[in-house]
Every structure is written in C-alpha cells, then in structure tokens.
C-alpha cells in the first residue's frame, strides 16, 4: 500500500458518498461500480493497472471538457436555429463534431501543418523522437508525425471520394427504381442481393487481384461494393414518398422522371440519407484502412494510416506505442462519425427520452 493507492480509493469512495448524499443516482452508480471494478483490477493487475484507470479517467474528463466547451462555443457562434439544436446535443455528438473538424483542418492544411514532406527521408530508420520529430521516424527514416498529418488527407480523402461515389450510384439507382418500379426495380434489386451476399472485404480482394491496385480502381471498387446499402435504403425511403398524393399530382401534371426525383422525392427523403452517408463513410473508411493494412490499398510512398501501421508494426514488439497512432487515428475518426450519426438518427427518428 502506498499513498497513491490509498488516495485513489479514498477519492473514489469519498466521491461516491458525496454523490449518494446529494442523491445524484447516475454519478453514484458510475463511481461506485468503478470502485468495485478497481478492487478486482487492482488485485489482479497491481498498482500499474490502477494508474492506467486513472489516466483513462483523466483522458475521459479531458474529452468531456473539450466536448462541453465546443458545444458552448458552437451555441454562441452558430445562428439561432442551429444553436438551439446544438444545445440539446449530447456531449458525445459535440465531441464527434470536434474530432471531425480537427481532422478536416489537418487534412486541408496538411502541407502547412506538417514540418516535413510525406516522402522526405530525414533521419535513420526507426530513429527515436527528438525535438525535431514529435513521434520519431518510420522504417525508412521519414517523420512519422508529418506522415500522420498527410494521412488525414490521403486516407480520409479516398474514403470520402469512394463514399460519395457509392452514394451517387446507389441513391440514383434507388430513386429511379422506386419511381419507375417494374423490371428496372426487379433487376437492380437482384443485382444488389448478389453483391450483398459476398462479404465486402473478400469481394474487394477478388476485384483488386484482377484489376490491380491504384487509387482510381480502389475508389470504383469500393463504391460498387458499398452502393447496395444506399440503394436499399433510398429505395425504401423513396418508396414511402412515391405513394404520396403530391407525387400523383405531379405525375398528372405531366412532370418527367428527373423532375419527380429532383424536386419532389429527394427533398422529402434527405434526413435518413444524410445519416446513412455518415454510416457508409465509416464502413468505407474501415475497408480502405483494412485494405491498405494488407498492402493492397493506397500504395507507397503516399502516406496512409493503414499501411503505416503495417510498416511500423515491428516496433510494437519493442514495447513502442508509435505504430498504434495511425491505427488509433482511424478508430477515433470512425467513433466520432458514429457519435454524430447516432445523434442525427435520434433527432430524425423523433425519439425522445
């Protein structure tokens, strides 16, 4: 027993007593279950695991604080309508927005932020971090931090392009299928069934083995593999809109297919589609990262998070944490997008409480 352990438990138990006294049920439950968990973890893992829990809690508090501050900031800056919406947003959602904004800034201003170029060799292989290199060097002596920043541009950029392409493809086919019906609808639905019954990673591998790997092929393949999800959703949503009276009225007016889709159906089915865009992006992003990790996605020397993990993986066996940064960057962005999508789905579904 030392001061840290005693202080740790004293703080937790004291805080939970305080919470119970002020009948803050949620806080009490959280703190007290953390105490119980710490007992078990502390006995099994010793003092170091308690340190880990403390650091995690500190990080969580930091995230929470950032999210809170960012929410207040947005509420002041944004116009009244949006500010009302943001005030009711959960902290997880504003945290997600904050992360997305950070990534966007990193991606757009990559050449300004990064101290070195993405393919610039500046040190020996696996050189440790010093005042010039925040995270040290990779297996060829390139600055890891610079590559991380450029990765925000390349990896996210490719994923965004692929998602957009998949979306245009799937949504267009879905809208046309819902409006026209008949043989086109049947044909597209069967095609989609077939594409969806092959696991996406396997399908991507098959097509990549045939078409070879370059960025354009990658984007097209991923768009084709992921458009069926969009197709199904769009078709379902638009199917509900198509039977409305105003569509019938527009048809009787003699409006064409394109007008119907653009002016009548699309504006009435945007909400679920935007949420789907976020979800779709997560899937695409994970697939791109996975393919790059396997060495079949974005090709070197372009900086990319998936391949960076693979190239530096040997460092892990020396207890270095640096290869985890690109992988963590992938995870963080996906989590952030998911948080925001969760909130948007919650809002659009009108579920309250």
């Amino acid at each position: 027993m030392n001061y840290f352990v005693i202080g740790y438990y004293a703080l937790l138990i004291g805080a939970s007593c305080l919470a119970a006294y002020y009948s803050a049920r949620t806080v009490f439950l959280l703190l007290f279950s953390l105490t119980l968990v710490s007992f078990i973890v502390g006995i099994v893992g010793g003092e170091s695991s308690l340190w880990t829990i403390t650091i995690c809690a500190g990080l969580l508090a930091l995230f929470g604080g950032t999210a809170f501050a960012f929410r207040e900031f947005l509420a002041i800056v944004l116009p009244t309508e949006a500010s009302k919406a943001i005030k009711t947003a959960p902290l997880t959602a504003t945290f997600g927005l904050f992360v997305i904004m950070t990534y966007a800034i990193a991606g757009i201003f990559a050449p300004i932020i990064a101290p070195y170029g993405e393919a610039e060799v500046i040190a020996g292989a696996f050189a440790p971090a010093d005042e010039h290199m925040l995270l040290g060097a990779d297996q060829l002596g390139r600055d890891l931090f610079s590559r991380l920043v450029f990765g925000a541009r390349n990896t996210v950029g490719i994923a965004l392009l692929a998602t957009t392409f998949a979306f245009v493809l799937g949504a267009l086919a879905g809208l046309i299928a819902a409006t026209l019906g008949g043989w086109f609808d049947q044909l597209m639905s069967r095609v989609v069934d077939v594409i969806m019954s092959v696991p996406s990673l396997i399908f991507a591998l098959l097509l990549l083995s045939i078409l070879g790997t370059n960025a354009f092929v990658l984007i097209v393949i991923i768009a084709v593999i992921y458009s069926p999800r969009v197709f199904r959703l769009t078709r379902a949503v638009a199917g509900n809109v198509v039977v409305m009276d105003y569509i019938e009225a527009a048809r009787l007016r003699g409006e064409g297919l394109w007008y119907l889709i653009r002016r009548e159906i699309l504006p009435n089915s945007t909400a679920p589609l935007i949420a789907e865009f976020g979800l779709e992006f997560c899937f695409v992003f994970l697939l791109v990262a996975g393919l790059s990790f396997l060495g079949l996605g974005i090709q070197p020397p372009t900086a990319d998070w998936g391949s960076m993990v693979r190239e530096n993986a040997t460092l892990i066996s020396f207890g270095e944490i640096t290869p985890l940064f690109p992988a963590g960057a992938i995870a963080l962005l996906t989590v952030a997008v998911n948080f925001v999508v969760d909130w948007m789905l919650f809002r659009s579904s009108g579920l309250k409480g």
Binding site: D193, S197, V198, I202, L286, G290, F293, I316, S317
Partner: protein, 319 residues
C-alpha cells in the same frame, strides 16, 4: 408443419441460386482481365511459345463457358485446380488452412456468444441507465476500431508489456498439444471476441428492447406477472428468433473479420492465404478462397433465416 417446410425449402433454394450466381461472378471476374490469365501471369516479356504452352496446360483454348462448368464441377467435388505459383493442388493448400480458420472462428464464437447474449439482455433490461450508456459508448468504440488496432493494442499490453501470451500465433497444428494450441491462439481469438461481442451485444439489445415494447409484454406486466416470469415465459419464446439471427449473422461476420486478424497474428489460416494469393495474383487460389468465404457467408445467413423461421411461434403453431 408442411407450411414451415415449404418456406424453409424455398429459402434453401434461394440460397443455392445465390451461390450459383456468385460462382459465376467469381469465375467470370477473372475473365475480365485484359488478355487472359496466361498473359497476366507471364507478363510483358512472355514469348508466344510460352503463352501457347501455358494456355494449353490450363485449357484456356476452350470457350469460357466450358471451362466454367468444368471448374464448377471440380469445385463441387472439392477440386479447385492447381496453384499458378506453387503448382500444388489448391484443395491441398486450402484444406488445412480452412480447418485452422474454422478452429479460430469456433474458439472465438464459443467465448463470444454466451457473453454477448447475457450482456445484451442485461443491458436491454437496464436500458437508459448509466450502464447502458457506458456500454453503448464502449461497444461503439469497439465496433469502430479496425480489427488490427484492437489486435495490436492487445499485443502491446498482453504480450509485450506484460508477457502473458505469445504475440504471434503461427502455430503448426501437428506439433502442439491441445492446451498449448488454445494458449497460443488466445490473442487472435480475443481480438475477434472483442469485436463480435460488441456487435452482438448491440443487436441483442435492440431486438430485446423491441420485444419488450410490444403490447403483450405490457399486458403481462399489467396483470401482475412477476418480472422474471414475464421474461422467461412471455418474452423469451419470441426472443429466440432474433437471438439466433444475431448469432448467425455474427458468425458470418467472424468468418470475414478473420482475414485481418490472421494477418496481424501471422496465423496460418485461409484469410492469410487469400491475401498472399491476391498479392501474387495466384488466381485459382483466389477464386477458391473467395468461393469458400462466400459459401460460408451465405450458409450462415441461410442458417439465420431458417432458424428464425423454425423458432417463430406463429409459424410453428398455425391457426
């Protein structure tokens, strides 16, 4: 029961047709190659004689449809042709590796399924409490992380910093004992368990909450049935279908998620073989692996549907 049997048979037939269409897709995707397999393998510098010899050897001079039928007939009997690189029979290469992958998937499933369903039900019963929110954030994080991230985190903390388990799982099945096998493959299995438990928990929670919101559960509560009885007698019979669905869908997910995990841990499974073959452009192996993956995926989805049909009380007891 005749009704149910009809539905099941119809579903099975549909699955078979899908599989057939996919086999066509996999076979003719390779035909899309500029030129043909021989040109793609031998590259630019191939002489006309070499190309001719290779086409002769692979039977490329016959029309595609004949080759497809031969390939399909071979695949049904477990003969996938010969690897372009090693010249070994594809079936011999894939066989042990597929067994290894199935072992890993089963290992993970045996741990994940009970844990996930229990946790999912608990979280559903405690919905909107702190635990539910914490579980929501944790599972979302786990789902959003790429498998290789989770894998390397586990390696860093459970193999390097605290040397509890080996970091690599490049086991040789003949040489290791049962216990050692489980020990050596624990980290890859755990990685998959983490991902799958998160998925499964969320799906179980959603389906149970959906169920608990239905009017007949409300009715049972209102007439004063004890809480456990509501769950066991009223909710559970209807919950089997969604739960079986969740399990089968996640097993299907396990089969594909295994590719990345195998590469991280250098596990000698079919996923690693597929990735290697894609890099080397060894098309017969790629085709065979894809067909096996797709077949397993379809089979498990089929099992989900059939399970849902068989456990649906409304279908089992027709009016």
């Amino acid at each position: 029961m005749g009704d149910v049997l009809g539905i099941v048979l119809k579903r099975l037939g549909l699955g078979l047709i899908t599989l057939l269409v996919i086999s066509i897709l996999i076979f003719f995707a390779v035909e899309l190659l500029p030129g043909d397999i021989a040109e793609a393998v031998l590259g630019q510098g191939a002489t006309a004689e070499n190309l001719k010899a290779m086409r002769e050897q692979m039977g490329l001079n016959e029309p595609a449809i004949v080759r497809y039928l031969e390939w399909l007939w071979g695949a049904v009997r477990g003969d996938f042709g010969v690897s372009l690189i090693s010249q070994r029979s594809v079936a011999d290469t894939i066989g042990p590796r597929f067994a290894a992958t199935l072992f890993l998937a089963c290992y993970a499933a045996v741990i994940a399924v009970p844990v996930a369903i229990t946790l999912g039900i608990i979280v559903a019963l405690l919905r909107d409490s702190v635990f539910d929110r914490v579980a929501n954030v944790l599972t979302l994080t786990s789902i959003s992380s790429p498998e290789f991230f989770l894998g390397y985190v586990l390696v860093l903390y459970l193999a390097v910093k605290n040397p509890l388990f080996p970091a690599l799982a490049n086991v040789n099945f003949q040489d290791v004992g049962t216990f050692e096998l489980y020990y050596k493959t624990f980290l890859p299995a755990l990685t998959m368990v983490l991902v799958v438990v998160a998925h499964m928990m969320r799906m179980t929670r959603a389906s149970i909450i959906n169920l608990l919101a239905s009017p007949y559960i409300e009715m049972a509560r209102l007439k004063g049935t004890p809480a456990w009885k509501v769950i066991v007698k009223h909710a559970l019979p209807n919950a089997w279908a969604p739960i079986i669905n969740v399990v089968a869908l996640n097993l299907a997910y396990l089969i594909t998620g295994v590719v990345l995990v195998e590469v991280v841990f250098v596990y000698p499974g079919i996923g690693q073989l597929l990735v290697d073959s894609v890099t080397k452009r060894d098309f017969p192996v790629v085709q065979a692996c894809c067909l096996i993956f797709a077949a397993t995926f379809i089979l498990l989805n089929l099992a989900a549907d059939v399970g849902a049909i068989l456990t649906n009380p409304r279908l089992r007891h027709p009016k």
